[in-house]
Symmetry: C5
Subunit: 353 residues, 5 copies
């Protein structure tokens, strides 16, 4: 939960703009893949230094510089130099606790988003940075979870659809779309978890459930936190259409915007359901407890007067006329049965039993 802070406090005091990777341990070494494509051809290679990245693509071509793993800060700094990026952009790329945002810089647009992948131990969230330059898109991922941008790469290789015919802003959009799609996968995982909780609350309510509910709530909260500012970011991109983002892309951005809102709405629905599950759990626990206590108390209540009657005839008075009669014992036993029966009938009538 302290993920969003990790490293922050240590960095406090260092000069602003200094390049330090802030975030959990880097999961993988930095790998830079450069993909150049035009409607007719596509080349892809893994490069070792920023110098190998083409600054401007050939006419009609698009270059995608995909960076996975943020360990090699030197390489990223070189990349920043090569494409003339502001030092704060580089700092933001490396500080992986950012909320989604879009920033317009002279000559390029910088976007930060969060991506969710559902792993064994719950949702894994990582930061993805997208930079749109004329003819070039740079993507930078932490590379801790599943690679959500793979689908875009696959479509580029396949060469089907409009993908290869369109310019760099369409690639930018396609990456954004893949990112937002990752939210649906995350939500589906959460949705399944919630459905299990819904079943469990009816079939086997246990104190564990409450903990699970809180866990899912927290994950929902994270998804919501990461989606909410996406709305503003995407609508900002949409509004600024006309610059690097061409107007043809506008309907596509509007589509991404709609999906983002769908995600937010779904988290809202899930939250409502979780609240209902929690309500149901608490109420079923208290019902069950009440039921138990009621039955136990009724048992005790029936026997206490009987025990009293037995106690009366256990007294050692010399002169207790009933004691000596042969009918004494059966009559008292009968009395006891009657009292018990009356009580049971009474409790039944009042629907206590």
């Amino acid at each position: 939960m302290l993920r969003y802070l990790s490293g922050r406090a240590e960095k406090a005091g260092s000069p602003p703009g200094s390049l330090v990777h802030i975030g959990p341990e880097a999961a993988r070494p930095t790998e830079v893949t450069v993909t150049c494509y035009s409607p007719s051809e596509l080349t892809e290679r893994v490069v070792d230094s920023a110098d190998e990245c083409p600054v401007a693509p050939e006419a009609g071509g698009v270059t995608w510089v995909a960076v996975r793993g943020l360990e090699n800060t030197a390489l990223i700094e070189d990349l920043g130099g090569r494409y003339d990026l502001h030092s704060l952009v580089l700092e933001d790329v490396l500080d992986t606790g950012h909320l989604p945002k879009v920033e317009e810089y002279e000559g390029y647009t910088y976007m930060v988003a969060r991506v969710f992948t559902a792993g064994a131990g719950g949702l894994v969230s990582e930061q993805v940075s997208l930079i749109l330059l004329p003819g070039v898109v740079i993507s930078l991922e932490e590379g801790r979870g599943f690679d959500v941008l793979t689908s875009v790469r696959d479509r580029l290789h396949a060469g089907r659809g409009r993908m290869r015919r369109m310019s760099a802003d369409y690639l930018f959009y396609a990456l954004l779309d893949a990112i937002v799609d990752s939210f649906f996968i995350a939500l589906e995982a959460l949705g399944e978890h919630i459905e299990e909780l819904e079943d469990d609350v009816v079939e086997r309510p246990s104190p564990e459930l409450l903990r699970h509910i809180h866990e899912v709530k927290r994950e929902l909260f994270e998804v919501r936190r990461a989606t909410w500012p996406m709305r503003d970011a995407v609508s900002r991109l949409e509004r600024d259409a006309g610059g690097l983002v061409s107007e043809d892309i506008e309907p596509f951005l509007r589509d991404v915007y709609d999906h983002t809102i769908q995600v937010v709405e779904t988290t809202e629905t899930f939250r409502e359901i979780l609240l209902a599950v929690q309500d149901t759990y608490l109420s079923s626990v208290s019902n069950r407890m009440n039921e138990i206590m009621k039955v136990l108390t009724i048992i005790a209540t029936i026997f206490i007067p009987l025990t009293f009657i037995a106690g009366v005839y256990g007294m050692n008075f010399k002169h207790m006329p009933e004691i000596a009669q042969p009918w004494g014992y059966p009559v008292v036993l009968g009395l006891m049965t009657t009292v018990a029966t009356i009580m049971v009938v009474y409790f039944r009538r009042r629907r206590w039993l």
Copy 2:
């Protein structure tokens, strides 16, 4: 509840703009009905291919292309081609988890809305898309519930009122109005359900009630979720009046807007009532439980001292002077009665009984 997501996650990764029907199983095969009318005449036929749909109606006439059932994606794609619709519009038509929205495209206006019909198993919600072109209105329904647009068709056939004399934007409005009217039917069904809950909570409170309350709450939540964005959508249509939507239609749109707000407000009222029902239920359960436990505890409390007295005279001491007296037994019985009476009177006085 996961309806809004179904299929989404599977589609994640496929190229944007690809036509896949996302939603629950199509309930019916696709059926396209083309209705052409003018003040003087009306023709209606079911067509099998998009080519049979007139692109532009005759002067003064209006064409309504009504599609029910979204199974036949090929046919819908053809239709999109014939009327030159953006691929994202077609994608949205088929992805039936959208929230209401209005989008202006070059030459046409696209609107998505949700329709509610009250079935046996609760509310059924489906997506309706409306597309307004010059002289043409295309409506696309999932066709899972009751056909809410029937009333518009009936009025067209009847030829009464202003229906046949007005242009395509009035048809567009009339369809929208029928959609919003469907909400009132849904709300009335919910309202009846809520009234039953209000009676039940007084007459036969049971743990079931809580589950019912949560169900109705969730349905209300769905209605609200589908109505809330309608407000913005309709007010956007209203603001843009002057283009495809003529200014004569403005007061009618304002009317639809008012109805939408009435729906939202009614869901709000229903929610308040449900909260009160829930409050009443929880408080009545706890009152009942308290009442039971109190009576049971009082019974036990009265007999425990009596049993103690009996216990004292059940002791086997050789030298217990009372034991041997003839008045011993009746005096102790009298003592017990007195103690019991005092306790009952005391509990009555303190209003515990």
Copy 3:
């Protein structure tokens, strides 16, 4: 509570703009009173048809067409024709479930408001429509409760103050002011009810109280619902000042606006008080219950060890030395007294008793 819906669902499907009275049974037959006045004279008569209503008043004069009872839809339709009102306006007048709103039409301004009167069975709410034309004001009431516009008529007849000297927009304002004043009467009735609840919660808390609280809450909610949109409606009137509403009326509208806000604020205060009353009730119920259970449990707890001691000496062992001693019985009785005393003292010390 379903008042806002009644009839709506039945109407769904009928052509928009059709004149049907939607609302509870009309309480009274339609009565139309036409009042024409100028600073110097005033005439008033009840008319039977719309034709008797003057379309334009004489120079310097004002005409007030007051309709009470909405049963006679034909008459109201005629009236609409005579003053050239949009069919949707007439529809809104008859559909008595509207929230307050103001609509500007070509040549007239239409306002819907709700009025509250406190009857024996709680608040009665009805819809009042006001239409401002040049020199003419039309008011249309359901006529189910107390006539809140009487005071305006009385002032007109009295001829005192600025009432008769001012133009139609002042009459419009005066009616609006009378409507908002009706809210204060309703709130005062609610306020008295709330004060009773405040007393009851201290003096005779009963489960009934909770039901009463919910009832008052719901009435408050209705008042708030009807007042909240009044703010926007009045401020819209204020902003549009300069047309039919002259600028002289602006400060008066601002005054109405202030009163509306006062009503909203008062409902807010009342809600806070009700929440406190509810809190106090629930906490007092639980305190009382706890107190009872504690005392009962303490009684049982004191006697159980004593009964155990008695039980020990009720055992039939042959060799129990104490049994045969003459001091056995008094010593055991003493022991019991001691144990009981110690327990009572201990419970007192720990403030349990």
Copy 4:
């Protein structure tokens, strides 16, 4: 709590603009003090009629007409006539249930504010009206509580600081500042009350506490209600700077604005603390109750099995071999001790005791 309504309902129906004093009984007769000052001199006198108030001060001078006590409505009406005030302004001055607001009129600015003074029985709130004309400031107070404007008068008399050198708008500001300062005194009184509650909840929790919490909550609510609209009112004054309010005064108004926000924020903090106190109280009550019930139940639980054992050997069977043995009694006593010890140890282990 119904203070804000008192008199309102009675007035409903009277013509708007009629001068009636609405509010609790006037606490003091009306007193009008006229203070005229310039940098060099200051004169002050109590006047009996509005005619004695200078309409326009001498060049460079400022006139402050201070009215305390609103009983003499005739005098206030005269004053209104003399300074040409709108009848609605006079009505608002006398209707002491207003929320803070600022209204610009032709030639003067009217402001209503609420003032709080902490009396023995809690906070006393009264309405203060300020009217700024060229060179003249009129202040009208109810005069029920402590005179919060005294400090301004004292500073004027002392003649120190910039007070006497500045124009009428500075006096207006100084009065406003004194009003806002009164809130801090009220908050300090509330703060002390809250600190007492914080101590009490730990040292002597009692059901009274809950009532006190609700009382303080309600007072906080009143302060907040009276401060919240002050923000808008002051920021409106600030924005309109340039007219009667000169631009030099702008930073001072901004300062008042800041203080207002501080008050709102402090009420917010106090509310949080009260919620925590309430939480702590409820939780401590339930803890205490649980503790008591647990101990009592444990005592009963330990003795019930022992009593059973005693019961067994109290049975009168002829053939119970243990009964006749000399070791029978001590062995059973030992058994009882063992059972009791085991139970106590077990309860200790599970930390139930």
Copy 5:
């Protein structure tokens, strides 16, 4: 908690603009350090009077006047005179209960912020004022906690990075950045506290926990309260870029803005976690209590019928046939065992045990 008020109430009534230090006891005597630097050189000295502070730095140089400790109000007043600051600015500097804000004055920009340092007894919060004049930055701290501006001074001395090459607005930004960084340290301290609470609630839930949760909540609330208005303040600085704040600084301010939002979001996350911890605690307390009561009640419930059976055979009737039989005793013992076994089995089956 009353920190934000301390001294306020006492000051109420004094003329606005009077210089009084409002806040807790000054922790240290006032110390003024003047640092003059340019890319090539840096001089630093502690001065005793305002006259020693250079009003305008040499061309290309920047002067930083750092004041720690606000005790010496005379010195601060002199400083205000030397740099021609408005009296309200000086008043705000000394009144240490302000919320963050930015104010533009003729010739300088004034900013108030709050700084948090984590001490032994929780968070220490103090006010820092920053004033940006052409070429000069004045910082004024209370000096109660840790010096958060040290890091900036260290970087200046080191002369590395862009620090020394940039103009006064960059210094202003660097100080602001250091202030916001201090929040992360505070949040990290709170985060650790929260993690401890999360562990404690599972391992050793105690009533203390609730108090700790409320304490942390209150601290979070304070941080949030101090950060929230920072957003507006920083975005105001950003918008006004072009005056004293040059456009080059804009991206840096945007960066500070982002960090501020991160802080607010983190407080939000922490609050959610605290709510979950509180929920878990309350639910675990009630679970534990329920568990105890259930076990105890079950023990009692098992023994009460057995005691009754023993009671029956303890009755002294002459004619009880079983009594005399040799198999009587063992049969009854067997009966008792059977009853107990049946009950245990039944309770197990229903999962009550």
